[in-house]
């Protein structure tokens, strides 16, 4: 499995402003890269641009290569095939990302059916495996549940199961723990790390430097649409080169001791 290579990514919103202004990222197989920065820097837009889920009218430039395919240049049919099988996404509010009139099982079945032509029994097996792989006990019970019946942590794990059901090489995670309590947050991120250990690349967008410190291998700092620092987590957070990183660390009141 190879990873994700982003070069010169730019995003213009409808109406003018260029929010993302030339971003380069390298993500290797099995690596967890945390994308941090102040609000408004363009972190979420970067991730959405790679997944091609921007609002209509937005313009994207640059390349995002995954397995020798440029995600930003591929046609609609190809994009649909790649989504789910090469690239998986998770977003901030997991319950809102689920259809309130469908069960968990329904979501998994439709995702798997979109990419694999297999009998229903086999699809269900794969779905249950995905739920288990996302750290959910008793997946068969959860299969019948509706989104409004899930806790925040459960919903985020379901989202993880959906994102990984077709075994994508790369996982994009946009502020996935912002709405969770600290304990649940730690549990979900541990599961994510386990996926990375199995060879999946993870791009983790977060505004929480402690999260980056504890669960990421590398850190990229985004400031005003550009990456100002990019390196191993320990290095960036202990010995920041850019002024912004220092400001962020000070604002988060993290000492070196707390980071290790």
């Amino acid at each position: 499995m190879s990873g994700l290579t982003v070069r010169g990514l730019t995003v213009d919103l409808p109406g003018g402003p260029r929010i993302v202004n030339g971003v380069d990222l390298d993500l290797a197989a099995g690596e967890v890269l945390a994308l941090v920065g102040p609000s408004g820097a363009g972190k979420s837009l970067t991730v959405r641009a790679i997944a091609r889920l921007l609002p209509p009218g937005a313009r994207v430039g640059g390349t995002a290569r995954l397995n020798d395919v440029d995600l930003l240049a591929v046609d609609q049919a190809g994009l649909r095939r790649l989504r789910g099988t090469a690239l998986g996404c998770m977003f901030q509010n997991p319950t809102a990302g689920l259809n309130p009139t469908m069960t968990v099982g329904g979501h998994l079945l439709e995702t798997l059916r979109a990419h694999h032509r297999l009998p229903r029994v086999e699809l269900r097996e794969r779905g249950l495996t995905a739920l288990a792989g996302a750290g959910l006990e008793r997946p068969a019970e959860l299969w019948q549940a509706y989104p409004f019946q899930l806790s925040g942590g459960q919903a985020q794990r379901v989202a993880l199961a959906l994102a990984t059901a077709c075994h994508p090489a790369v996982l994009l995670a946009d502020e996935i723990t912002t709405e969770l309590d600290a304990v649940t947050q730690a549990q979900v991120l541990d599961t994510l790390r386990a996926h990375a250990a199995a060879g999946r690349s993870v791009l983790l967008v977060t505004h929480d430097l402690a999260v980056a410190a504890r669960w990421a291998d590398t850190v990229a700092v985004l400031e005003a649409g550009r990456v100002t620092e990019h390196g191993p987590a320990a290095a960036v957070l202990h010995d920041p080169q850019a002024a912004l990183t220092r400001t962020l660390l000070r604002a988060a009141q993290l000492s070196s001791a707390a980071l290790s």
């Binding site: 997944a51 889920l53 649909r80 095939r81 790649l82 989504r83 789910g84 099988t85 998986g88 996404c89 977003f91 509010n93 809102a96 990302g97 689920l98 259809n99 309130p100 009139t101 469908m102 439709e110 995702t111 979109a114 990419h115 750290g135 959910l136 006990e137 008793r138 019970e141 959860l142 549940a145 509706y146 409004f148 019946q149 899930l150 806790s151 925040g152 942590g153 459960q154 989202a159 959906l162 994102a163 077709c166 304990v183 649940t184 549990q187």
Partner: protein, 337 residues
């Protein structure tokens, strides 16, 4: 509480409401001027006035001089066993009149509801999804004007265009005299009245509901999420946009069917459709109280049933909506978070 219990509870309430309506109706019609005995005699004699003695005899025969409560109980007792009295004009049993006319009204209402739903979904989809401002605003304006047209005006317009001007479809009844009443013939006669009923002045609010539902859902996070999982555009539209968007519409439909039924009266008159509505109007004009009471009750029963079906359908469509009294569902706590 299960669905069965819910329905049973509602059935009891419905029975009480119908009982109250029957009392009200009976009492109200009792206040009406005119003498039913005289009306019967004059109908029988073809318009010749009846003498005072004849009227008195007829009144005694019909039990009209008994106290109100006694007359009501007599009627209610009969109704409970299936005897709703006899039409004071034709003399036929009311149940026979109903049996002749109710199926036609049900047919008309059901077909009109189907037209209405299909039409509203089609127009609402276009209005909700189109990026062309002129199309969207055009539809909104048309719906607004439609909301200002009374049902009978729409019916007259359709009658004029369909039957008089362009001679496409028959103008009334369910078959020309001498013609066999086959399915095809009835269908041809059904088109105009059903269309008039379907696209009457509630249609605009249906379209608006669907349109708003779609524009609201189109930008929802779960739609983005569905795209991110690689689902096809058609699947997304069908299951993730249309599904949740139709919930407010479904809620309204249950109530709207009642209004549809009421609107059917004027339509039946215009198109000479042999249904309950036409019967009711004729009964009202002729002061045929037994028939009128029966029709009011039957209509009320249908409306209550339609409301109930609507509520059941919505609870099926949207699992978040619980029937009142349902304590079953709660968050699934499966050990871990």
């Amino acid at each position: 509480m299960t669905t069965a219990q819910f329905v049973a509870r509602r059935a009891v309430t419905a029975a009480l409401v119908l009982l109250a309506i029957s009392v009200l109706c009976f009492t109200l019609l009792d206040l009406a001027p005119g003498d039913p005995a005289r009306a019967v005699l004059e109908a029988r004699s073809g318009g010749l006035p009846a003498s005072v003695a004849e009227v008195a005899d007829q009144r005694a025969l019909m039990g009209l001089d008994d106290p109100l409560a006694q007359r009501y109980l007599r009627w209610a007792g009969g109704a409970a066993t299936g005897d709703l009295g006899a039409s004071s004009i034709t003399g036929r049993p009311v149940t026979a009149e109903l049996a002749d006319t109710v199926p036609w009204t049900v047919l008309l209402t059901v077909v009109a509801t189907v037209f209405s739903v299909l039409g509203a979904v089609a127009v609402g989809l276009v209005a909700g999804l189109t990026k062309r401002r002129w199309l969207r605003r055009g539809i909104e304006l048309a719906m607004f004007v439609l909301g200002g047209m009374p049902g009978f005006v729409t019916a007259l317009l359709l009658l004029y265009l369909g039957a008089a001007r362009w001679q496409l479809l028959p103008s009334g009844g369910v078959g020309r005299p001498g013609e066999d009443v086959t399915v095809a013939v009835v269908a041809a006669h059904l088109v105009l009245p059903a269309a008039a009923l379907a696209f009457g002045h509630h249609f605009g609010s249906y379209v608006r509901l669907i349109q708003t539902g779609i524009t609201g859902v189109r930008a929802a996070p779960h739609v983005d999420n569905a795209r991110a999982r690689g689902l096809g555009a058609w699947t997304i539209l069908r299951r993730h946009v249309l599904g949740p968007a139709l919930v407010p519409f479904a809620t309204r439909l249950g109530v709207g069917t009642g209004a549809l039924l009421a609107g059917a009266y004027a339509i039946e008159v215009i198109f000479s459709w042999p249904g309950m509505g036409r019967l009711a109007i004729a009964a009202a004009k002729a002061q045929d109280y037994p028939v009128l009471t029966a029709v009011v009750l039957v209509t009320a029963a249908f409306v209550i049933a339609a409301n109930l079906l609507g509520e059941l359908a919505v609870s099926r469509l949207d699992p978040r909506v619980r029937l009142p009294g349902d304590t079953r569902r709660g968050p699934v706590v499966v050990g871990d978070h």
